[in-house]
């Protein structure tokens, strides 16, 4: 069945090669990208969710009302 399906698509022989290339390029691209980032930028981004955090209301050590 697969031959039957694929034989109707023009130039199907290239599809597999194109897919493999695409994957290779995307994954290598992401890796290169990621490891070329400057450490200063990384630490800035990591701190983002913590930046300007509201004071933690349960940081004090008094017991919670229900306990």
């Amino acid at each position: 069945m697969i031959q039957n399906v694929l034989s109707r698509i023009g130039g199907v022989g290239n599809y597999g090669v194109i897919s493999i290339c695409l994957f290779f390029v995307v994954f290598v691209g992401v890796l290169v990208w990621t490891f070329s980032l400057k450490p200063s930028y990384i630490s800035e981004m990591r701190a983002l969710p913590l930046d300007g955090a509201a004071p933690e209301p349960d940081a004090d050590l008094t017991p919670n009302p229900g306990d």
């Binding site: 990621t34 490891f35 300007g52 306990d67």
Partner: protein, 682 residues
């Protein structure tokens, strides 16, 4: 909210919208209770079918989609909106783009949930799993989702923080992909206000459905919650994420691979083999980014494990992240972040840490109780179905033997459900008391410098930094990544359409069969029965000839089902006399002792509405079912009456109840080889 300017030069003062977050949080808890209670009722009916209380509306087939929809779209959906509306504002240092859009999003979503809760028990369903809602509700979902997306992008474009944190990428991927999935899978032709037929048939419909079904899990239950993990986990642990680089790889790996894996729901079916293989290979590859994400989450807690011991919120997070790595169960557990959010929204502390800890342990125990028995049941069932004796016959030819042997597992699963639900009740109480003890802050003031032109264009613009500073470019690339997977699967799918080998004897349903098929859909029979005999000897011995793609060319929608609580029904037509079916529907235990199928007495007493026939035939013709011209004006009705009269005649000619086995034996030329050999009739 108009920004003030009293925080020093270049700093704007603005307010975060907490009211919308609270609304979604309350909805999450309420729908969680409703959805899980429905699930418990459904789980109990699996060993105690009489618990439908003789009501067709809450019989298992209709209750199951109600439970799944309530838990996925009402509970997890509201939880997702809650988390996104909270974290997006803070990560963008901006109030939500438009308050009106936020509230239309909220009330629109609740209206969709209520309409689902009304239509599903009424049997108004498309039968496609996790996409059961009928076409008017589908349109409403699309509209509300677009409103959410516009509101989100508006906020991102107005942000005061130059870079988009990784959580926001996950939110963007969610918004785009869910829209694509929902629209493609919901393509249907209406036959009436609450009845439609899928535009796709058979194999195509199955592939589109599971491309949707799996990615609904991926992009509705997983990616938004991963975004929330990357925001809330560092926040709750007060330490930054372990590796930001890993989070980038996690994101691109996940969205690029996830979209391909849908066909693993259709293994050994009539779906072309290449599509099944593709789905499997990508499923294995998906382990890498998933585990990468899990480790990233867990390693964020390094040096903070003492906090985990004290903080129930972190306990939930650890369980959720671990469960994500093992089975992607993170959705329900992570929605427990309400426990973290409530004290902050009400500017107080959690009412009882002890209670939250109880909740954690009860919920964990509950999950173990419902996951483990179901795994055991699944393996037992699979082995019993495939077991041959030394003479080469099926060891358990009677399907009911298998059913009976796993009933204890169903009972244990329901016990797990009770535990889990009790935990949620404790949480609801704890959150209620927390809210009572605090003071709600609808608008929380914050300050940040506006984004300047230089800042926005980025002086050192290269690599990923440049990309994620430009949300629109980022969005287009993420969409391309998602669409490639979808298109590679879907384009050959259309070509398959011309290549499904046609089988001359396969004809469109007769008018009576069509209405019968629609009753099968209405009652949710495919919640327990498959119609897909797989090409194994254990299957063909038990059920008959294996199913072929060409047999489903007129099935809009496909009705293969996805689980076998009861036996496969694809070859059951003509296997038993009509009288057997009459008695079986009235009381399944009269013909099949030990059966756990619910009774369907209303099928014997309700009048069949044939007025809908013309519109249904027309709708089906418009999607390609070759009914002859004018068939709906007269011939359909006549044919229906003739076929019905024949069935009724058959029932009258045969004795009722006691002699069923005899009757079945008389019809033995319709039995499978196995049954003829052994004389055992399921």
């Amino acid at each position: 909210m108009r920004a003030g300017n009293r925080g020093g030069p270049g700093v704007e003062t603005f307010k975060y919208d907490n009211a919308i977050v609270r609304a979604f949080a309350i909805a999450t808890v309420i729908w969680g209770l409703v959805g899980m209670a429905a699930g418990l009722l459904a789980a109990t009916q699996m060993f105690w079918p009489a618990l439908n209380m003789k009501l067709q509306f809450i019989t298992f087939g209709r209750l199951r989609p109600l439970h799944t929809n309530a838990v996925i779209f009402a509970f997890v959906g509201n939880g997702m909106f809650m988390g996104v509306y909270y974290s997006l504002q803070r990560l963008c240092k901006a109030r939500m783009f438009n308050d009106l859009l936020s509230w239309v999003n909220f009330w629109g979503w609740q209206a969709i949930i209520v309409s689902a809760a009304i239509t599903l028990p009424l049997g108004l369903t498309t039968s496609k799993e996790y996409a059961e809602l009928e076409w008017p509700i589908d349109i409403a979902i699309a509209v509300v989702w677009v409103i959410f997306t516009v509101n989100m992008f508006g906020t991102i474009l107005r942000r005061r923080e130059r870079h988009m944190y990784v959580a926001i990428w996950f939110y963007i991927a969610t918004a785009l992909t869910v829209a694509v999935l929902h629209i493609v899978n919901s393509m249907e032709v209406p036959a009436s206000l609450f009845k439609s037929y899928s535009m796709y048939a058979g194999v195509q419909d199955a592939l589109v459905q599971w491309w949707y079904g799996h990615n609904a899990v991926a992009f509705f239950l997983t990616t938004p919650y991963l975004g929330l993990m990357y925001y809330f986990l560092p926040k709750a642990a007060s330490r930054p994420v372990f590796s930001y680089r890993l989070s980038i790889i996690h994101f691109w790996g996940l969205i690029f691979i996830y979209i391909w894996v849908g066909p693993h729901h259709l293994l050994y079916t009539a779906l072309p083999d290449w599509a099944q293989s593709l789905g499997m290979v990508f499923s294995v590859m998906l382990v890498a980014p998933s585990w990468g994400g899990m480790l990233n989450g867990l390693l964020t807690l390094r040096g903070a494990w003492d906090k985990v011991r004290q903080d129930p919120m972190l306990k939930f997070m650890v369980a959720a992240v671990t469960a994500y790595g093992m089975a992607t169960l993170e959705g329900p557990t992570m929605a427990i972040k309400s426990v973290w959010l409530f004290p902050r929204l009400y500017n107080t502390k959690l009412w009882s840490i002890k209670l939250a800890n109880y909740h954690f342990w009860i919920a964990l125990l509950g999950m173990v109780f419902y996951v483990v028995p179901i795994y055991v049941a699944g393996v037992t069932e699979g082995m019993m179905w495939k077991q041959f004796n030394k003479d080469g016959f099926l060891q358990y030819p009677n399907f009911l033997e298998v059913v009976q042997s796993i009933i204890p597992m169903y009972v244990l699963r329901a016990v797990g459900g009770i535990l889990y639900l009790s935990g949620v009740v404790l949480m609801a109480f704890n959150l209620y008391k927390t809210a009572k003890s605090g003071q709600f802050q609808p608008d929380q003031e914050a300050q940040a410098a506006p984004l300047t032109r230089e800042g926005a264009s980025d002086e050192h613009s290269h690599g990923h930094r440049w990309l994620e500073a430009k949300p629109m470019t980022f969005t287009v690339l993420a969409l391309v990544a998602v669409l490639i997977g979808g298109m590679v699967e879907i384009i050959p799918l259309w070509l398959v359409k011309q290549n499904v080998p046609t089988i001359a004897s396969v004809k469109p349903y007769s008018s009576l069969e069509l209405l019968g098929r629609d009753i099968y859909i209405r009652e949710g029979c495919l919640g327990c029965h498959s119609q897909m005999v797989r090409p194994f000897r254990s299957e063909t011995e038990r059920y008959g000839e294996y199913s072929k793609a060409g047999e489903f060319v007129y099935d809009h929608p496909f009705t293969w089902g996805s689980k076998r609580t009861g036996p496969d029904l694809h070859r059951v037509g003509g296997k038993y006399p009509d009288a057997w079916h009459y008695n079986h529907m009235d009381d399944p235990r009269s013909t099949s002792p030990g059966s756990i199928m619910p009774r369907y007495p209303w099928l014997l007493t309700q009048t069949l509405d044939t007025a809908c026939l013309p519109s249904r035939i027309k709708a089906l013709r418009s999607v390609g079912v070759p009914y002859p011209a004018g068939y709906e004006n007269g011939p359909a009705q006549k044919e229906l009456e003739a076929q019905a009269a024949k069935v009724v005649g058959n029932r009258r000619r045969l004795p009722r109840r006691r002699n069923e086995r005899l009757i079945v034996c008389e019809a033995s030329n319709r039995l499978t080889k196995q049954e003829k050999r052994t004389g055992q009739i399921p």
